[in-house]
């Protein structure tokens, strides 16, 4: 009989050993999990090693003098004052420009745009921009801001370039935040006679704000770590002064790290490690800020 012929291929129904999964079958699953954990361990282990290495090498150099001095040809006199000021000013410009434009784009795409060719063009375009290598943005800034608009290799040119770089990220995270606002809120607002903008401004944005802000802070932290576009733009590696205004020449922390790392002297590598500690510390603070802000705002609304 057909049934019993097939049934013979497996443990018979009378066999009650439910734990009889073949060893090799179970082993394969365990190997897969083991490999996954190994993969995680490699990534995390490498970054842990990196952090420890950086801390061991950089901490002895990290003092008040390091934070308040300009760069120098001598490692023991080198500092990151100009770089920190440069980073701060650049990021302020980046945020001031990209935040409103990004949020406005997101509002348009989520609340206003109809499903037509123009909307699709913008959406495809944003997806493509997000995948353009950052160094290409440097070339864009060099051609457009530095030369075409005559801003020279200035803080303003750098900030604007980074603003374009993070714009796709800001749009994407802001859209997600706006999309997650329940539709009932919009309908309720329309129901009492609010216009579209009143609905967006008074109801949708306040609810979406925690998500938007968190996403934007993370985008800003991406901008802080960017090196390649600013190098390409022509930001300097060696700046022994503080910028007078936004059209002055500048450097930023990542570029200083890059510069010191590529010097042959070992002492400069240690100084670079100290600068990395500062950079990672700043990023850590910003991310903590994002988390705290999100919690606070969540409670409020």
């Amino acid at each position: 009989m057909a049934t019993s012929e097939i049934r013979r291929n497996f443990a018979p129904a009378e066999d009650m050993s439910f734990d009889a999964i073949q060893g090799s079958r179970r082993l394969k699953g365990m190997l897969l999990v083991a490999f996954s954990i190994l993969a995680l361990a490699v990534g995390v282990g490498m970054v842990l090693t990196l952090l420890i290495d950086v801390l061991v090498r950089g901490l002895p150099w990290l003092d008040w003098q390091f934070l308040t001095s300009f760069d120098s040809r001598f490692p023991e006199r080198a500092g990151i004052l100009a770089a920190m000021v440069g980073t701060a000013l650049t990021i302020v410009i980046t945020v001031i420009v990209s935040l409103p434009v990004g949020i406005m784009s997101a509002i348009y795409l989520e609340e206003y745009a109809r499903d037509n060719w123009f909307t699709r063009l913008i959406e495809i375009n944003i997806a493509n921009l997000a995948a353009v290598p950052s160094i290409i943005y440097g070339l864009l800034g060099l051609a457009v801001f530095v030369r075409f608009f005559g801003l020279n290799r200035s803080i303003l040119a750098g900030g604007l370039t980074l603003a374009l770089l993070v714009l796709p990220i800001i749009i994407v995270v802001s859209r997600e935040a706006i999309r997650s606002v329940p539709n009932g809120i919009r309908q309720a607002a329309y129901g009492i006679g609010a216009t579209q903008w009143q609905t967006v401004w008074h109801q949708v944005l306040p609810v979406a704000l925690p998500g938007i802000l968190t996403g934007n802070i993370l985008a800003a932290s991406r901008a802080i770590g960017e090196t390649a576009p600013l190098v390409t733009l022509g930001a300097l590696t060696f700046i022994p002064f503080l910028p007078k205004d936004l059209l002055d020449r500048f450097t930023v922390l990542p570029i200083v790290i890059f510069n010191w790392s590529s010097k042959p002297q070992r002492e400069f590598h240690d100084v670079a490690a100290a600068a990395i500690i500062v950079l990672l510390g700043i990023l850590l603070l910003i991310n903590l800020l994002a988390i705290v802000l999100r919690q606070r705002l969540r409670k409020q609304f």
Binding site: G43, M104, S105, Y108, I122, A131, L140, T227, I257
Partner: protein, 312 residues
Amino acid sequence: MSMAAPSESSNAGLGLQQRRPHALGERFISILLMTAAALSVVTTFAIVLSLAGDTVAFFREVSVIEYLTGTLWTPLFSNPRFGIWPLITATFMTSAIAMLVAVPFGLAIAVYLSEFASLRARSLIKPLLEVLAGIPTVVYGYFALTAVTPFLRGFIPEIKSFNSLSAGLVMGVMIIPIVASLTEDAFNAVPRGLREGAYGLGAMRHEVALRVVFPAALSGVAAALLLALSRAVGETMIVALAAGQNPTFTLDPLVPVSTMTAYIVQVSLGDTPYGSIGYKTIFAVGATLFIITFAINFGSTLIVRRFRERYD
């Protein structure tokens, strides 16, 4: 935006006519928002135009044939040669090494996250990956140059101070979170019903993961891997720091090379005046890089569109 009280606008009839001031304001706002959204399209055009301008100028001085077929890249020497291949081989060698690391590890993490991990493990691993992805690339570059290369020298004494191997390995670790999160998205897009179908037959977790979920998500995985490859090709600081700035036409991972991105950095750091041939080269190389990454990204989009599994 003040809410107009109904009485102000309802002098005539029932007041159901359009509230004029609002209508104007609403229109203005919607145009403003649309302009902001259109800025991203302007950005793309600006990128293409700014690359094209100096690239065209470059090819007025240099033959396209030499650029596309030459294997010597010495644009700043007194006897300049403009063959792009040394930069391309270097770019793809470092990217290939990075993918060799990132693909198996990233996929394994994604499989684990989507098919094995408990909620608690997930809530631990996801932020960890975000931390990995948030470290600036210049820091990874520092690490490749000052720690990984000396470490590798312990096993491979002939390795040079600048080499593709350690740059590629570190870049691979950098890309792991990207591969993991993009492919996990692809796995999560596989409907629950397929998994249940397999579990209902007595499949174990790894069998469901490898023989049902993975094949069903294949197009999404391929698209994700292409995006990761494009990240590797365009990555700059790790290779500029650790792989060197010597345009050598070689596939030896132990010697200094120069990727396309590293070359752009090298020229940008020097004092190259506007309009000089050196200045134009970085736009020509940039345009080449842009076209290559665009082609890879486009391929990824095509795969997603063409092979999207339809389950309904």
